[in-house]
Structures are given as C-alpha cells and as structure tokens.
Amino acid sequence: MKPLWVAWERAAEVREAARAWRRVGAIDEPTRMKIDELFPDPRIALSPVWRALTAGMVAAVTLALFSAFAIALGRGSAQIQVLLLLCAGMCLATTEALAASPRSARRGAVGALAFLGIGFLLAGLGLVLVESARLSFDDAIDVVLVVAMLTCGSAAWRWGSSFFAGVSGLALFCNLARLPHGRLLWLVAGTIVTGVAARQVDEGRRAPSHRRCAAVLIVVGIGAVYAAANVYSLDEQWLEQLARVVPPRDELPRGAMLLAPLATALIPPAVLAWGARSRRTFLLDTGIVLTALSLVTLRHYVHVAPLWIVLTLSGALIAVLTLAIERALRRAPDREIAGFTADPLFSDERRQHALHIAAVAETLTPAPPAPAVIPGLQAEAATSAEAARRRSSERRVAIAGDADEVPLGRMTPKIGDCTR
C-alpha cells in the first residue's frame, strides 16, 4: 500500500472518530470542523448506499461488456480463456488506477472491480488448466486455490480490503485441507495465523485497513482451529471430505475422539476469556458464536430434553442472563465493570446500523438507541466551542456553528463523571 494511501486512511480514522464524538454531543461542530481541517483526507467518501449502488452499476457494466465480447468472439474455449484473462488484467489495472485517485478511491468501484478482476483471473486460470494444459480436475483445483490465496492476499495487502484478507485465509485453509493430515494442519496453521494476526491488530505502523485485515484473519484462524477440533466435524469427517483422497475412518489419530469433545467445550470459553481480557468485542462476538455452536453440538449428542424445551429454556436463559449482565453494568460504580459498559459509546453506532441493515431491511430488529449525550462533555463542548471561536478569529479561520445545537438524549453519568 502506498504511503500516501496510508496517510489518507489514518486521517479518515481520526475524522470518523470525530464524527462519532460529534454524534453524541461530546464535541461541537466547530471542533469537528477543526479536526477535519487538521487531518485532511482528500478522498470523496460515499455513504454505504451510494457505494453499493456504484459498485452494482460498475459490476453490471463490466459483466455486460464481457458478455458482449464473449458473444462477438464466438463461444470457443480458447477465446473465452483469453478474454477472461484480458478482462482480469484490465479490471485489476483499473482498480489500481482508481485506488490512487482521491475522487474515486472510496466510491465503491474499487471493490467491485477488484472482486471481478480476481474472479475473472481464477475462472480464466481454471479454464486454461483444465482445457489447455489438460491438468486433472484435482490438480487444477489445487493450483486455483493457491493462486486464489496469493491474489486475494495481495489484493488485501495492496488495497487494504478485509474481505480479500478473509477469502485469502479461507483459501489457505482449503489448500491445507487437501493435503494429508489436513485436520492437524488446520490446528497448527489456525493457531499460527491467529497468533501472528493478533500481534498486528494493534500495531501502529500498520495501515488501519491492514489492522482490520488482521482482525478478520484472527477470526478465520480461530474458526479454523474450532472447525478442526469440533467433535461433530471430526465425527462426520468434514475436513477429510475436502482432501484429494478421503482417508478411512480408522486412520483418525488415537485419542482424537477423546480430545475433540474437550476442545469443543474449552475453545469457546477460552476465546471469550481472551476477548474479555483484551476487551476486543469481535473476539467476544466470535466466542458467543462458538459457544452457540458447541451447545448445538452438545444437543446433537446428548438429548437432554425435547427440542421445544431446549429452545424455550435456552432462549429464556440467554435473555435473563443478558439482562442480568446489563443490569450489573448499569448499576456498577461509574456504570462500568472491568472496562466494559452497557452504554452506547462513540464507536457503536455504525455496528448497530449494520445489524439493522442486515436484519431484513430494518423489519426484524429494534431501531438503534438514541445517541447518548455526555453531560460533562456537553458543557465542555460549549466551552471548547467558545475556545475554538477565539482561536478561529485569531487565526482568521471562519468556523460556523454553535454548541447549542448539541442534541439532547439520555444521560450517562459515568462518562460525565470521568471528564470532570
């Protein structure tokens, strides 16, 4: 990634944080504008809707052009191979050009073109290997998986896409599953990927997008370890089915069926504990999902009760436990326990919106809460507005706005207290 792009990303992080502070009334508009001024990001940033629309149209144009040329050139395999590889090259070159331009870097076209470019490349390569090089289907799959891992990894590195980082990780594990002792390799590689990525996720020298890629790789690594260790996956030989040669059941290592239940039970709490200790919510989320999977595995092997009882009781238990945690956090001194709070902080809103967008166009989940206003900071916002105005007039920088515009909302005494 070019140093200039990294600088833009760093500025964008700060500007985004400032917007979140402004949203909850912790700073006023002149202060936010001042921060924007101090951390310039020349890229035009579109909202997710505009980005999705642009990406959709770019994809439609590219696919239509490809189809037009494919039909015009004839339907022979050789022509299609050349066309696929040509389109791949053009898409990837255009992606690089667009990513370098502040006007187009964050419009959605970069992601769409990179996705199509890599898709064309892999499809073209697959056809070349099977049709022209006459490789066996298994060999072709192996080569395509290796190339997918490398190209997606390069795309993640070059353009900072966490999606490609995730795909690259998945391709790596698919490659390993095709080797002998794939399950063991998943355990080892999963642990290594998680460990290496965990060291990068807070590393200041890395670009913000690369830190996000590291977070995705941690989840992929944990997922791989869990998939390899899960007793049901072992019992059903899920990973072995991906291998070139499926080994017979009796080739499973001795003691594997004894250790797997233990691992199935222990990995989720271990991930939860790691998440709680490091206060990383994505790890907590991963731990919650793994816990649910382990409980489903348990229910598969141990029929403790009829399904309806299990569902109703577990649902009620989850709700009661969650409410108890929320209540404990709310009533704790300073409304926090060990650095966790149930109050919506600055960084929450985007994730909540994502949840609501995902949940069937906002019809199945409640709306996000009203942003909290922080009393202590609200007063300070007014003060800092005054200070900003003073500084602005001194520096002859015109800054409009007023702290009185800060929206009123729910009080958050703890946060107010800590600022006094």
């Binding site: 202060t31 037009a68 015009a72 206060r279 577990s314």
Partner: protein, 323 residues
C-alpha cells in the same frame, strides 16, 4: 486500540482543540480501556426472543394435541398478557415525536408479546375456526394490532412487522416469490402489490408532512418502494402482458421517485429507483435485440446504459452533497 486516534487525540489536546476532560475520555475509548457491549447485549436479547418464539412454535405445531387445545391457547394467552403487561407498566407517555426506549429489553419484550399474540390468534383460528372461510382475515387483525402497537410504543420494528403482515394478508409473500401461478392470480397479486406500495409511500409522505411519527418515514417508504417498483418490474418482465405500457409506467414512477429522492436527499430511494429503471431498460434492450447474433449488441448497449447510469449517480451525488 486505535493507535491513529490515540496519537491524534494527543495532538488535538496539545493544540487545545480538545479539552483535557474530552481527551481523557476519548483516549480511554480509543485505547480500549472502556468498551461498550451494548451491541452484544441487544443481539443476545434478540436471539433469546427468537429462540423462545421458535420453542413456542414447535409446541403449538407438534404437541398441542398432547397438551389440549384449550390449555395451549390459555398458556400462550397468559404469556402474551404477561409480556404486554410488562410493556404497559414500563412504557413512556405517547408522543407523535420520537420516544426513547425506557428499558434495554423494552423493544424485545414488546416484540415477544406481539409475536405470541400472533401465534395465539393463528392457533385459535386453526383449532376453533372462528373466522371460518375468511380465515386469512386473522392476518389483517394481526397487522392492525401491530400497526397500533407500533404507533403507541414508537417501534419501527413492529411497524415493519405490521407492514409485512399486511402484505402477507394480501397474499403477496407467496404470490410474487413464485412466478408459476396462474396469470389471473399473478395479475391480482401484482395489482395489490402496487396499490399497497403506493399506500405505504403516501403514508411515508404523510408521516413527514404532518410530523406524525416522522421517523417511520424510512420504514414506510422502503417497504412501499419495494412493493411498488417490484410490482412494476414484475409487470415489465411478464411475457404475457403488454410490457411496453408497464415499462412506461415503471420509468415514469422511477423518474418521479428519483426526483423526490434527489430533492429531499434520500439516497436509498434514489438507489432503488435507479436499479428498477435500469432493469426495465435492460429488458427493453433484450427485446429489441433478441437472442442470436444481435445479442452482443444488446450487451454492449447494456454496458453503455450502465455507464450512463453511473454518470447519473455521480452527478446526483455531487449535487446532493453540494446542497
């Protein structure tokens, strides 16, 4: 930790852009010394409610004979009343504006209560056939209750459920999803979708215009446009109809939606209208240049049309941002 934000906070404090108090809190959050788990709490509550309603659904479907019809109905009724009583005890006074949720579980208990109410009504209908041949009307009752509850307790979730139940009452959920229905039935469903969609869009406009639950606009308009534009697109794609008239109607409605969305800076509606118009025009191209040697021309023109669409999107966004 977000090292970029941590470094920026230090700089902003030094340059007196942020006060010491502000910087202290922001740094605490940026360093992950204070983390919010509100997202996790809400998600878990939602999952809990879904599990409970799934469990109740299985009981009703599989075990109601063992338990007895009256006992089952009574049990669900008790649970419904318990949930809605809790909601009534904790609710805030009614307002046409935004009402803050009084408790983190409020929305979820309300959702559970209303879903149990719907289950109860469906169960009573199947067991005792109260409405007889007009049994689909029980969906209308559920939808009306959802809509009333949405307004009373200011819940966009319940409003969304109400709108989709109303659509289900008109048979839309099945009709438009499956294309293999008889022409007349499909036509009726399409007409219903368009009428209901238009009604929802009008409701969205009224919500904002009259300042009556203005925050419901997004839910009304999104559901309305989905039905309205979806119905028109389905008319264009239907081989048995005069697709030209449907296309003209689609383009006219899409243009209208784009204009309104552009004027009031509503990007989602603009996107929906652009997508619908694009599908309609692509269909026109493939009608003009059918399969065979001319197909590549159709694809080429589709690409050009897409490029024009892109130019329109870029231009519209630029003007919207400038305004």
């Amino acid at each position: 930790m977000n090292p970029d934000v941590v470094a920026a906070i230090a700089r902003l404090e030094t340059e007196h852009v942020l006060s010491t108090g502000q910087a202290a809190l922001f740094e605490r959050v940026a360093r992950r010394r204070l983390v919010s788990v509100r997202f996790e709490i809400r998600t878990l509550l939602y999952v809990g409610i879904l599990l409970v309603t799934s469990g109740v659904g299985i009981v009703v479907a599989e075990h109601h004979r063992d338990i007895g019809a009256l006992a089952t109905a009574a049990a669900i009724a008790v649970a419904t009343v318990a949930c809605l009583s809790w909601v009534a005890r904790h609710d805030a006074p009614f307002s046409w504006g935004e009402v803050e949720s009084p408790h983190v579980a409020f929305d979820y208990v309300l959702l559970l209560g209303l879903m149990l109410f719907a289950t109860e009504l469906a169960y009573v209908e199947t067991q005792f056939t109260v409405l007889g041949p007009r049994w689909p009307h029980h969906l209308l009752i559920v939808a009306v209750v959802y809509l009333l509850a949405a307004y009373r307790w200011d819940s966009r979730t319940v409003l969304g459920l109400g709108l989709s139940t109303l659509a289900a009452w008109r048979g839309l959920s099945i009709g438009l999803a499956r294309g293999a229905l008889a022409p007349r039935v499909a036509g009726d469903l399409r007409a219903d979708a368009i009428a209901l969609g238009a009604l929802y869009v009008i409701a969205a406009a009224l919500s904002v215009g009259l300042a009556r639950k203005a925050r419901f606009e997004e839910v009304f308009a999104t559901a309305g446009l989905l039905l309205l534009l979806g119905g028109l697109v389905s008319g264009v794609l239907d081989e048995r109809l005069a697709w030209g008239s449907w296309l003209i109607a689609l383009l006219a409605v899409s243009a209208g939606v784009m204009w309104v969305a552009f004027r009031f800076a509503r990007s989602l509606y603009f996107a929906a209208a652009v997508a619908a118009a694009y599908i309609g025009l692509v269909h026109l191209l493939f009608r003009l240049f059918p399969r065979g040697s001319q197909e590549s021309i159709a694809f080429l023109l589709t690409a050009l049309l897409g490029a024009a669409g892109l130019a329109l999107i870029v231009r519209a966004h630029r003007v919207m941002v400038r305004r």
